[in-house]
Symmetry: C2
Subunit: 193 residues, 2 copies
DNA sequence: ACTAACCCTTAATCTATATTAACAATTTCC
DNA sequence: GGAAATTGTTAATATAGATTAAGGGTTAGT
């Protein structure tokens, strides 16, 4: 099994000893999910955190009319989780599924807890990962408060340059918070044809 | 100086030894800010994280027309920071000011770094604090994606029960993302008069 | 290679919320 | 205690983006 992608991700934050690497990888589960297959369904408890090595996942919530609203895409190198559900064991509000065939590693919350108690370096890693995620969500919220749809689209292109080409436009629309019809209109009006 | 409020907050997550408590409190700075006085101005680098013991702070961003949009209120027991600015030393996008006369403790990021290297228990505390904040922002984002203005107002009342009474309505409107005029209309239409 | 499912576009109509303006009520602070 | 600033209300008008509907194009799985 090739653990390099996930170990490289961790190496951005902390430097593991060989012992720590071995212990950590012993907790990793490898999984392959097919297009449209669920990794988490709203209502279930989120018991693991996943790291994508290939393909792409998405997390989304469903409104009372059944409309899907994408919270996050996870292309290779991204982590994905319903954090509140994992922390409190409440039912998840998020669904996580695969946009295309996807490979990932996951680690169970219970194993992660053990890992962090044994090696404080994983507390440090977890702190940094959560701090970065918090900073990202803070600024996403600011963007949503002060930017219009065109500006949010432009932000999206900067954040996920690889996805803009491969993703159906309706998924992008869902992420930036407009209907597919409105995004289509925007893209065919703003640019000089 | 009465450190009880901030020590009680930390005790929710980790149990400090007397040595750790003394070391930690030696890094704390006490500050009193008057109504409308800034703790952080957008454009400056956020170098500290603050914990409110009395009064109330708010963080907000300003749009291109000069409109203010509240990201967070911090009544007693809450932490407040522009996390990205603190992590990367980029200029802050958030302003933080006092809604009323407010007392707080702050700790400099540089001191916090030293503290966490010396005592892993503060890594653990920092991880849990950041994970909770991330969970909160994830669910705030979900709320904003799937709820309408009335439902967001109702959420606000649950989240900040003490503030609904003391805060000017226009601040509430700014937090939930509507104009003061619209909130006024909502409140005088929805309820049977 | 075929078929069903999915995706994109256009256009007409609709709606939640914004904007502007004017005035009354309340709060702050000198 | 009173002037100045801030806050809340109402109503008319405006707008960003939603909804609905329909046709044509593209993709995926058999």
């Amino acid at each position: 099994m090739d653990y390099a992608p996930i170990l490289n991700n961790i190496a951005k934050y902390v430097t593991l000893t060989e012992e720590e690497e071995i212990y950590f990888t012993s907790f990793l589960h490898y999984k392959k999910v097919k297009r449209k297959q669920y990794l988490l369904e709203a209502g279930d408890v989120n018991t693991k955190i996943s790291f994508v090595t290939n393909g792409c996942l998405r997390s989304y919530a469903v409104d009372k009319n059944g409309g899907e609203h994408v919270l996050q895409f996870a292309p290779p190198g991204w982590w994905i989780v319903d954090m509140r559900s994992m922390l409190t064991h409440e039912p998840a509000r998020l669904n996580i599924d695969a946009i295309e065939e996807t490979e990932l590693f996951y680690i169970l919350k219970a194993d992660l807890d053990a890992l962090q108690l044994k090696y404080p370096k994983f507390e440090r890693f977890g702190r940094m990962l959560a701090e970065n995620a918090m900073a990202t969500y803070q600024h996403r919220q600011i963007d949503n408060m002060i930017l219009n749809a065109i500006e949010r689209y432009s932000n999206f292109c900067t954040l996920y340059p690889s996805l803009i080409l491969s993703l159906p436009q309706k998924q992008v629309a869902s992420y930036i918070g407009v209907t597919p019809e409105f995004l289509s209109k925007m893209l065919n009006t703003v640019v000089i044809k």
